[in-house]
C-alpha cells in the first residue's frame, strides 16, 4: 500500500512539473504577445467557387472541355511546365482515338538515342512516351525563368488546397494590387520580376499572366476562347491529369455503398432477431 501510494505521489509531482513548465511557457508567450507586435499576414483570396462537370458524387468528365484544356496546355503552359506523369497513351481516356493519339505523340519531340552513333538526340514521340519536359534539367529551367523553376503540372490540382478552383482562379486573377491593399500592406507590392495575383498565398509570383487575351488559343470546337474559358478548361484538364481515375472511382463507389447498405440492413435485422430472446421485455 505504501508502495502504491508512492507511485501516485511521484505521479502528482511529475504532473505538477509538466504543468508548471508548460504554464511558464504560456506566461512568457502571453507576455511576448502583449508587448510585441504580431507579424501580420498579408491577406489573400480564397479560390472562387466554380462549377465543374466532375464535381460531386455523380461527376463526369466533360471530354470536350478536357480536350480544349489540353490545347491550352499544349500551346501555352507547355512552354515552361512539364507534365511528366502523363503519357500520350492516356489521352485515349479523354476521347481521342488511337490514330489521333499516335499523330499527337508523333508531333512531339522526345529525348532519344541515335541508333547509329548512340548519341543523345530527339525523336518523334510514341503513344507510350510521356509528355516531354520543356527543359533538359532543373538548372536550365531555373536559368530560363529568373531562378524560379516552373513546377510540373501533372499533380498540381491535388497539390493545392481546393486545387481545381485554385488553378482557375489564379489564371484569371492577375491584377495589379489595389490602392487600399498597398496602403495597409506596402510589402504586398510586387518586387522585380514578380507579378501580383490575389489568389497566390504571398500575393506575388514569378509567373507572368500566361492567359492574357481572348483568342490566344483557337479552339477546334468553335468555343469562344475567353481568358475565363481557357482558365477553366486548363484547370479541368489538370484535374484529369492529377487523377485520371477520379470518375471511375466515384462510379465504383456507388455499387459498393449500395451493397454495403443492403448488407448492413440485413445485419441489423439479424442482430435484432438474435437478441430478441434475451432483451428485457418492456
Amino acid at each position: 500500500m505504501t508502495k502504491l501510494l508512492s507511485v501516485r505521489l511521484v505521479a502528482i509531482l511529475v504532473g505538477l512539473g509538466f504543468a508548471v513548465a508548460v504554464l511558464w511557457a504560456f506566461v512568457v508567450g502571453a507576455y511576448n504577445a502583449a508587448t510585441e507586435e504580431a507579424a501580420g499576414h498579408v491577406p489573400y483570396e480564397k479560390p472562387m467557387d466554380l462549377a465543374w462537370s466532375f464535381d460531386g458524387p455523380f461527376g463526369k468528365w466533360d471530354h470536350a472541355q478536357l480536350q480544349r484544356g489540353l490545347k491550352v496546355y499544349d500551346e501555352v503552359c507547355s512552354a515552361c511546365h512539364s507534365l511528366k506523369f502523363v503519357a500520350f497513351r492516356d489521352l485515349e481516356q479523354i476521347g481521342y482515338d488511337e490514330g489521333q493519339v499516335k499523330a499527337y505523340a508523333a508531333s512531339k519531340q522526345v529525348p532519344g538515342i541515335d541508333p547509329v552513333t548512340g548519341e543523345a538526340t530527339t525523336r518523334p514521340g510514341l503513344p507510350t512516351d510521356y509528355f516531354p519536359s520543356p527543359y533538359p534539367n532543373n538548372v536550365a529551367a531555373a536559368s530560363a525563368n529568373n531562378n524560379a523553376i516552373p513546377p510540373d503540372l501533372s499533380l498540381m490540382t491535388k497539390a493545392r488546397g481546393d486545387g481545381t478552383n485554385y488553378v482557375a482562379s489564379l489564371l484569371m486573377g492577375y491584377a495589379p494590387p489595389s490602392e487600399e491593399l498597398l496602403a495597409e500592406h506596402p510589402e504586398a507590392a510586387p518586387g522585380p520580376g514578380l507579378h501580383h495575383n490575389p489568389y497566390f498565398p504571398n500575393l506575388n509570383l514569378a509567373m507572368a499572366a500566361p492567359l492574357t487575351t481572348a483568342g490566344q488559343v483557337t479552339y477546334d470546337d468553335g468555343t469562344e476562347a475567353t481568358v475565363e474559358q481557357m482558365s477553366k478548361d486548363v484547370a479541368a484538364f489538370l484535374t484529369w491529369t492529377a487523377e485520371p481515375t477520379m470518375v471511375k472511382r466515384k462510379q465504383t463507389g456507388w455499387p459498393v455503398l449500395i451493397f454495403l447498405l443492403f448488407a448492413t440492413v440485413l445485419a441489423y435485422m439479424s442482430k435484432k432477431q438474435i437478441w430478441a430472446a434475451v432483451k428485457p421485455k418492456k
Binding site: 509538466f18 511557457a25 481515375t245
Partner: protein
C-alpha cells in the same frame, strides 16, 4: 480459462474429431470468438471497436502487401512509383486510397476504443495487462503510421521524417549521433526511406502478434461492461456467438459504409495537399504538419516554447510528448477508485467530460494549426490540463470521490430491480 458455464466445443464429425485431437484450432476459435466465450450481456456499441480495430489491421496488411508489390523504396523513384500505382496498376488507386484512409480509420476506431477504456476504466484490475498491451499496440501503430507516411516521398513525407527524427536530436550529447544513426545520414534520403519501408512492412506483423496477446489477456477475466460490475452468474452473460458476432457484424457494416464513403468520394480529405509535391530538401513547406491522428501529441510537443531552467524547450517538448502516452502505462495504479464505470463516478465524470475531452479537442485543433497565436497559448493550457488530469486529478479524485450506488449485478442492470426476476435468473443452473 473461462466461466464454468462456458459451452464446450464438441467436434461434430470425423474430420473435426481428428483435427481436435491433433491441432485443436477450431476449439481455439470456438473459445475465442465463438459460442464458448461468455460475454456480458449488456455491452454497448462502444465495445464494438476492438473488433473493428482488428478488422482495419487486416485491411492495412492486405492492401499494404499489394501496394508493396508495385512500390519501389528508392528516393529517385518512390514518388513516381506511387503515381504509377495510382495511374497504371489495375485498381492501384483503390488499393492506395484504401490503405491511406484505412490508416485513418484504424486510428479512429482505436481512439474510440481507448476512449471507451478510459471512461469505463477498463484498465483496472484484473485487466491491467490488456491495457498495457493495448498501449504497446498504440505505440507500434504510431511508429508504423509515421514510417508509412514517409514512403510516398512527398514534401510532407520528407519534412515530417526530418522533424520527427529531429526529436531525437534534442537528447543532450548523444542526440545528434542518434538522429544520424536513425536516418543513415544527415538528412532523410535513400537510407532512411529503405529502412522505413522495411520496418513499415515488419511492424504490422509485430502489431498482429501483440494483438494476439491482447486478446489472450482479455479472455482471462473476460470483457468488462458498462456497469463495471463483474460477471457473477450465467444470466449475466451471453455466448459471443451468435450474440456479439451479430452485433459486431452490424457495427462493421456501419464502419465499412463510412470508410468506403471516404475511400470513394473524399479520398484525399484527410491528407495534406503538399504530399502531392515531390520531396524537395531545398524547399521547406510553410507549415509542417503530421497526419491528423498525431495532432494532439504534436500540439503537446510544440506547447513547450520556453526553456525550463536547464532543460531546453525542444527537449522539454519531446519528453512531454513521449510522457503524454507513456503515462497511460501507469493508469491502473494511478486511478485506485474501486468503481470502474464512469456512470457511477460523479467527480470523475465531470472532469472527464468537461476537462479531458475539451482538452483533447483543443490539442487536436492546435496540433493541426500553424504555430501561431492563439493556438500556441490554447495548446499550453490544454497540455497543462492533460498532465494534471492523468497525474494529479485522477489519483486524487479516486480517493476522495463518493461513488453512486452500483447495481447488484449485470442482470439487474439490464432487467431492472425486480428482485424476483433477478433471483430467478441468478439461480439458473451453471453448466
Amino acid at each position: 480459462m473461462s466461466f464454468p458455464w462456458a459451452r464446450q466445443y464438441e467436434p461434430s464429425n470425423g474430420f473435426t474429431k481428428f483435427l481436435d485431437e491433433r491441432l485443436p484450432l477450431p476449439r481455439l476459435v470456438y473459445n475465442a470468438i465463438g459460442a464458448g466465450y461468455p460475454v456480458p450481456r449488456n455491452l454497448s456499441y462502444f465495445w464494438n471497436f476492438g473488433v473493428l480495430a482488428g478488422f482495419f489491421l487486416v485491411v492495412q496488411i492486405v492492401t499494404g502487401v499489394v501496394l508493396a508489390m508495385h512500390y519501389a523504396a528508392n528516393a529517385q523513384v518512390a514518388f513516381a512509383t506511387t503515381e504509377h500505382i495510382m495511374r497504371d496498376v489495375n485498381w492501384g488507386w483503390l488499393m492506395r486510397y484504401a490503405h491511406a484512409n484505412g490508416a485513418s480509420f484504424f486510428f479512429i476506431v482505436v481512439y474510440l476504443h481507448i476512449f471507451r477504456g478510459l471512461f469505463y476504466s477498463s484498465y483496472k484490475a484484473p485487466r491491467e495487462m490488456i491495457w498495457l498491451l493495448g498501449v504497446v499496440i498504440f505505440l507500434l501503430m504510431m511508429a508504423t503510421a509515421f514510417m508509412g507516411y514517409v514512403l510516398p516521398w512527398g514534401q510532407m513525407s520528407f519534412w515530417g521524417a526530418k522533424v520527427i527524427t529531429g526529436l531525437f536530436g534534442a537528447i543532450p550529447l548523444v542526440g545528434e549521433p542518434i538522429q544520424v544513426w536513425l536516418l543513415g545520414g544527415f538528412a532523410p534520403d535513400n537510407a532512411a526511406l529503405n529502412r522505413f519501408f522495411s520496418l513499415h512492412f515488419l511492424l504490422p506483423f509485430v502489431i498482429a502478434g501483440v494483438v494476439i496477446l491482447h486478446i489472450w489477456a482479455l479472455h482471462i477475466p473476460g470483457s468488462s461492461n458498462p456497469t463495471g460490475v463483474e460477471v457473477k452468474t450465467e444470466s449475466d452473460t451471453v455466448p459471443f456467438h451468435p450474440y456479439y458476432t451479430a452485433k459486431d457484424g452490424f457495427g462493421l457494416g456501419i464502419a465499412l459504409l463510412l470508410y468506403f464513403a471516404m475511400v470513394f468520394f473524399l479520398p484525399n480529405a484527410l491528407g495534406h495537399p503538399d504530399n502531392y509535391i515531390e520531396a524537395n530538401p531545398l524547399s521547406t513547406p510553410a507549415h509542417i504538419v503530421p497526419e491528423w491522428y498525431f495532432w494532439p501529441f504534436y500540439a503537446i510537443l510544440r506547447a513547450f516554447t520556453v526553456d525550463f531552467f536547464f532543460v531546453p524547450a525542444k527537449l522539454m517538448g519531446v519528453i512531454a510528448m513521449f510522457a503524454s502516452i507513456l503515462l497511460w502505462f501507469f493508469l491502473p495504479w494511478l486511478d485506485k477508485s474501486p468503481v470502474r464505470s464512469g456512470h457511477y463516478r460523479p467527480m470523475f465524470r465531470k472532469f472527464f467530460w468537461f476537462g479531458l475531452i475539451p482538452a483533447m479537442i483543443v490539442l487536436f485543433i492546435c496540433g493541426g494549426a500553424p504555430a501561431e497565436e492563439p493556438f500556441v497559448m490554447l495548446s499550453q493550457i490544454a497540455t497543462a490540463y492533460y498532465f494534471l488530469h492523468f497525474l494529479v486529478i485522477l489519483p486524487i479524485i479516486s480517493s476522495v470521490e463518493k461513488p453512486e450506488p452500483l447495481p447488484y449485478s449485470i442482470t439487474e442492470a439490464v432487467l431492472g430491480s425486480d428482485k424476483k426476476v433477478v433471483k430467478g435468473e441468478n439461480t439458473s443452473p451453471a453448466v
